[in-house]
């Protein structure tokens, strides 16, 4: 057997180190969540599930989870509908103006979240949307729109322009054409966009901190406040649960593919 070269060893070690750097901080929360202490720390004498118990019995945590979930779903719905309509429209026009419109829609990704949140705050005050679910959904929809439009555009890039023409020549009106041949072609992009929109909303915190007070409590906001106020290890339990949920979803996804 050939001895691995120095370069190979160097590269392999590097790769593993980077991987560890990426994953270890995430894994640290698992032992912490099982701690028997009442503050954030490694388990001292025994492993305990009491912080999980606390999460599942505390109405505030459950409410926040539920609120995050349905804000996420509403955001995904509205961003997906708007983003899809926008992208299909631009695809049909394919003019200079539509290219500019696409760039404008993508700017929320480029603007620093704090700046944007400040904008939301100023504007939402005038509209009376501060501390309302509508206000949060609206802000999250704006943040999620670029992701939806990018993924729908990517799906439509492969669509032969002659296909809608064929539908028209076969007697379909413009709405019928969109529904029968353009939307099915965009479907993978629409689904990806919806998932992205949900995720963007589910873990968004900066905007929520600016535009909510007490009535709207999302999960990220609860975690943030938990760290600030009392270093409650329930945070670690929640984090572990989220990591687990993500893992389950990813496994299910890769199993479906194979």
């Amino acid at each position: 057997m050939k001895r691995p070269s120095f370069f190979r060893i160097f590269m392999n070690t590097g790769a593993w180190l980077v991987l560890a750097f990426l994953i270890l901080p995430m894994l640290v929360v698992i032992p912490v969540s099982l701690t028997d202490t009442s503050y954030l720390a490694m388990p001292k004498e025994a492993l305990s599930l009491r912080h999980y118990e606390n999460y599942f019995s505390d109405a505030r945590w459950l409410d926040a989870t539920w609120q995050s979930f349905y804000i996420g779903v509403l955001t995904a719905l509205s961003a997906t509908v708007l983003g899809t309509v926008f992208s299909i429209g631009c695809w049909f026009l394919s003019s200079r103006a539509s290219t500019i419109a696409r760039w404008v829609l993508i700017t929320p990704i480029l603007v620093p979240p704090v700046v944007q949140s400040l904008g939301f705050y100023r504007f939402w005050v005038q509209l009376g949307l501060i501390d309302t679910v509508t206000g949060v959904v609206l802000a999250h929809t704006l943040l999620a729109l670029p992701y939806v439009s990018i993924s729908v555009f990517a799906a439509l890039a492969n669509l032969d322009r002659k296909i809608p023409q064929a539908a028209r020549s076969l007697g379909a009106s413009v709405p019928q054409t969109v529904w029968a041949v353009v939307v099915p072609a965009a479907r993978p992009g629409i689904l990806t966009g919806a998932v992205f929109a949900f995720i963007v909303s589910f873990d968004e915190i900066v905007g929520v901190l600016f535009i909510t007070v007490r009535k709207v409590q999302t999960l990220p906001k609860m975690i943030w406040q938990g760290i600030q106020d009392n270093i409650d290890p329930t945070i670690a339990a929640v984090a572990t649960l989220l990591v687990l949920a993500t893992l389950v979803l990813m496994l299910a996804g890769s199993l479906r593919k194979t």
Binding site: I163, A166, R168, S169, L170, G171
Partner: protein, 363 residues
């Protein structure tokens, strides 16, 4: 074979379309007969596809009009025209099965379930694709996709079938087979076909009439044999088949025959039917088909020359013969009855019948 269409179905009047400075269509007027197989033939950029998409309703004309059986359709959206269209690259709906593709126009027209099922079966049988109803388009070969596209475009009994280079993506052998089939299909269903191609063989073999377009203008319209035998311009003479061209001076005319001189050489030249006799002394251009030139052993024909180049093509040989007065002449002769050995530098004799050279309109 129809002459001028007995019953015109579609009228194109003065159709004009500009893209910036380029005139894709420049005052094109055309009558298309009911049940006719009409081919729009031209090189790329000639405006043939623009004309077809204007008829389909996808290209808005800057000027001019379209009428279908007396009804103006210039402004009518494509889905209301009831024209079937077969696209280059087929444009089948990738998310639908073959049967669903064919049923699509029928569903749009709100046919009953039973009628749709029956018609889809009929159409599949028409293009011999009965066994493929439940396949997805991506599982079919190019030729099969072509058939499905054809069945889909015909399923709703369109008034006109528009075909945009439908065979261009197929290999040569399959193309030849499908040419026979298309012609057969046209005869069987009797629908008007408007066919766009840049392939002259396709045009010659299938069409009732051919429209030759160049730079957005119609160069000549006619039946295939008429166009081939009597091209009006050098463009037509060279695009449909090949031609040798001679610049000549007219000496005298009578009874469809014109006497001309090309330099020192005097020759008899054919005139198109109905063309006015040219004035003596006028300069003109004459086309001569390579296959009308005969080659023979030295002294057997009128002109003598030397073989400059030859290429063997199987059934035919192409030979370039050089003569002092006429310059280089392209000859295409059948290989099986060649009486002379074709070798570069070989002296040879060549000539043609008096009805072979054709007088062209453009000088």
């Amino acid at each position: 074979m129809s002459e001028m269409p007995i019953q015109p179905l579609l009228h194109v009047r003065e159709a004009t379309k500009r893209y910036g400075e380029v005139r894709a269509l420049d005052g094109v007027s055309l009558e298309i007969g009911d049940g006719e197989f009409l081919t729009l033939l031209g090189p790329s950029g000639s405006g043939k596809t623009t004309l077809l998409t204007a008829i389909a309703g996808f290209t808005e004309l800057d000027a001019g009009s379209l009428t279908l059986g007396g009804t103006e359709i210039t402004q009518m959206p494509p889905d209301k025209r009831d024209f079937g269209m077969v696209f280059q690259g087929y444009a089948l709906f990738p998310t639908m099965t073959v049967a669903k593709n064919i049923a699509f126009p029928l569903k749009i027209r709100k046919w009953s379930r039973a009628d749709i099922d029956r018609r889809v079966k009929e159409c599949l049988a028409l293009v011999q694709m009965e066994d493929y109803a439940e396949r997805m388009p991506s599982q079919l070969s190019g030729g099969q996709q072509q058939r499905v596209a054809l069945a889909r475009a015909l399923s709703f009994h369109p008034k006109v079938l528009l075909l945009d280079e439908p065979l261009s993506a197929l290999d040569k052998k399959l193309r030849a087979d499908l040419q026979w089939e298309l012609k057969d299909l046209h005869r069987k269903i009797g629908v008007t076909f408007i066919y766009v191609t840049h392939d002259q063989e396709e045009a010659l073999s299938m069409s009732d009439r051919i429209v030759i377009l160049e730079s957005g203008r119609i160069q000549q319209i006619g039946e295939p044999d008429e166009l081939y035998a009597h091209p009006r311009t050098s463009f037509v003479a060279d695009f449909l088949g090949k031609s040798n061209f001679f610049e000549v001076t007219v000496r005298g005319a009578g009874a469809g025959q014109v006497t001309c001189t090309a330099g020192e050489v005097e020759m008899q030249v054919q005139q198109r039917n109905g063309a006015a006799a040219p004035a003596a002394g006028r300069t003109a251009r004459v086309a001569l088909r390579p296959e009308r030139v005969r080659l023979g052993p030295c002294g057997s024909e009128r002109f003598s020359g030397t073989i400059r180049q030859h290429s063997y093509l199987g059934e035919r040989s192409q030979v370039i013969v050089e003569n002092e007065a006429l310059g280089r002449v392209l000859v295409s002769c059948p290989t099986w009855k060649s009486q002379v050995e074709l070798r570069q530098g070989q002296p040879i004799s060549f000539g043609w019948d008096d009805d072979a050279p054709i007088l062209l309109d453009d000088a």
